[in-house]
Structure formats: structure tokens, C-alpha cells
Symmetry: C2
Subunit: 209 residues, 2 copies
């Protein structure tokens, strides 16, 4: 009997399979790199270290992502992309302005405890090359604009107190960025629980109500 040709059994990957394999390799390099940058510091981590952890060669990393500056820019761009998406989802969600603000703040804190978000906070502007730095700053300004917009909308519908919007944004963001520095992945309290408790503290203030 003749063997019927089954494309799913072909030893030659389809262009879709090739694309997907390439994506998976790129993602694996980024995940290893961001974790090592967070653990050891960007300046203390070489692409040789990242390649060694993955059992690949440095030219393979260059092939998928480029040089160390480009790898870092990609890591922080992913983290900032998660934040921009969270702001967009919060703006679409139901409830008062305060409800939408709280939803975003909880996500902000959670992302800051995750690999790529931690990297955003732990990376000083000065670590990046000038072009990458300009892009990094522009994305951070976008998050700041999004946060101020959510605060302004909540002041407008009177679901939060009247305030200086810029200083409120800096105060809230600072408190919720900080877990990127102190939170240990795998700690006793889950990131979502920490995020909710911190946002509750910021909502109520420390003086008795």
C-alpha cells in the first residue's frame, strides 16, 4: 500500500512552524536575560553568562535579539507594554473613576513584582545607549500620562479626593514601583495579595478614618 503524504508528519517544518520556533527561542533568551539582569544587575551580567545559562552561544543571542543594549531595551519594552495594556484595560472597565484607578494600581504593583516589570524599575536611564534611552523614557512618560489620566477622571467624577494630580501620580507610582526592589519571587504572600493590600493602604491613608 502506498503511504499517503501527511503534511503534519513532514520532517520539513512549515514556515508557520519555523516562525513559532523562532519566537519560542527569542522568548527563552529574553526570559533568561531578564532574570539574570534582575538577580545580578545589568552591568554584572554579560551576554556570555546568559548564553551559558541557556547552553547556547553568544552569536545565537545576537542572531535572535542583537547586542546587550538591544536585549535590555527589549526586556523593558515588554514590561512597559504590560503596563500600557493594563492602563488600557482599566480605562475600559466598569465602575467609578476610583474603581478604575484601583484596578490599574493593583496591576501596576503586580507587574512590578514580575520579571519584566522588575527590570523596568531596576534599570536606570543611564544604563541604556542614547537611542534606546529615548525610547525607554518615552514609554515611561506614556505610563505616567495614563496614570495621571486615570487620577484626573476619578477626581472629575468625585470618587477620589481633590488633589495635585502630578504629585498624587508620583506618590502612588513610587509606592507601587518599590516592590520591584524588595519583593522576593516565591515569597510567602502572593504578589496579587501584596498588591491589593498596598493599594488599600494608599486608598485609606494611615490616619484613622
Amino acid at each position: 500500500m502506498d503511504t499517503v503524504f501527511d503534511p503534519s508528519q513532514s520532517p520539513f517544518p512549515s514556515s508557520e512552524e519555523k516562525r513559532s520556533a523562532r519566537e519560542a527561542k527569542r522568548a527563552a533568551v529574553l526570559r533568561a536575560a531578564v532574570q539574570m539582569f534582575n538577580e545580578r544587575g545589568f552591568h554584572q551580567t554579560s551576554l556570555d553568562d546568559v548564553a551559558a545559562r541557556l547552553g547556547i552561544s553568544k552569536p545565537t543571542i545576537y542572531h535572535y535579539l542583537g547586542n546587550k543594549d538591544q536585549v535590555l531595551l527589549e526586556c523593558v519594552t515588554i514590561g512597559l507594554g504590560q503596563l500600557i495594556e493594563a492602563a488600557e484595560q482599566s480605562r475600559q472597565s466598569a465602575g467609578s473613576g476610583a474603581d478604575r484607578l484601583v484596578a490599574f494600581l493593583v496591576r501596576l504593583a503586580e507587574i512590578n513584582m514580575d520579571d519584566f516589570g522588575r527590570c523596568v524599575i531596576r534599570t536606570g536611564d543611564e544604563a541604556l545607549a542614547p537611542d534606546s534611552r529615548a525610547r525607554f523614557r518615552a514609554l515611561k512618560r506614556q505610563i505616567d500620562t495614563d496614570l495621571r489620566g486615570l487620577i484626573a477622571a476619578a477626581v472629575a467624577d468625585r470618587s477620589i479626593a481633590h488633589c495635585d494630580i502630578k504629585l498624587m501620580a508620583f506618590t502612588l507610582a513610587g509606592a507601587l514601583n518599590w516592590p520591584a526592589r524588595w519583593h522576593e519571587p516565591g515569597g510567602a504572600l502572593a504578589p496579587e495579595a501584596i498588591a491589593r493590600q498596598m493599594v488599600a493602604i494608599l486608598a485609606a491613608g494611615f490616619l484613622p478614618r
Copy 2:
């Protein structure tokens, strides 16, 4: 007429004058170094750069302070010393537990907008050599212990709301550490005014009272 010998006019400096000149030189090196670390980043600043700004040689810096790791350790130790002193003064001040906590928080934010405090926040543990890192961490733990003590005392005399003391400390410190990253020296609003407004936001919370 014989000239009367006046020791204050002697061309030979006294040991007190020598000590004081040495202190002034050491302080000038530290001030130049901390400002350059804050502007450019620690890894992007060499001791040659610091020496050039002061018009001195790198061996002169080694003479007064030691190597780059020792210069950084000295900078962060000064900043952390200011914070420890502020905590001590707050504990001694009059009023309720909340009053003492507020006094410390305002100083915390102010110090974080000043040269040495900014350097504390902008320095990752991983930038320091292992021995220096251990000392840096121990001093940071001291500040955290001081802050938690002030919060606990304010909870105990019921001048602030009941709370998870550890998470409250992280939330307040994060909000007030963050100006070290965004505050531009010489901005429109004075550091003390920014500090007071941020602490008022944290005291009252963002929900209407």
C-alpha cells in the same frame, strides 16, 4: 620694634588646621563623586572623571578615600547616616506617635531629594563589592527597623490606623524613596514642600474623607 610672634600668622599650619584642611578636601571629593554618580550613574563614572572635575589626580582621591567601591560606600553611608539621625530626632520629638511618624517621613523624603540620599536609592546592592554590600544592607535594615518602630508606636497610641506594619513601612518608604529618581535638583517646588505634600497624601489616602 621687634615683631611679636603671632601663632595665627604662622606659615606652618597647626595640626588642627591640617586636620581641617584634610576634612575639607575629603568632603569636596565626596560631594563631586556623589553628584556625578547621581547624574551619570555609578558604572558610567570613573574616578578619573571625578578627579578631572576637581582638577586633581586620581591618586589624590585614593589618598583621601580609597578606590571607587570605597568612595561609593562612603557616599551611601553618609546618606544612611542622615536617615538614622532623622529617625532618632523624630523619636525624641513631641506629640503623638502620628506626629513623630510624620516628622520622620518628611525628613526621609527631603533626604532622598538631597545628594547623598539620592545616591542611597539609586545604588543597587549589586553595585558594591561583597563586604561593602553587607554594610550597605545592614544600614538599610536599620532604617527599615526605625521606620517600623515609629509606625508600631503610632499604632500603639492609636494615632494612626491599625495596619500590617511591614507592608505599611514598605508602602510609605517606597512612595518617599521615589523622588530620588524623579526629582530634579533646582525644580520649581522646594524639596520640603514636595515632602510635606507627599506625606499629606499618604496620611489622608486618595479616597474622600
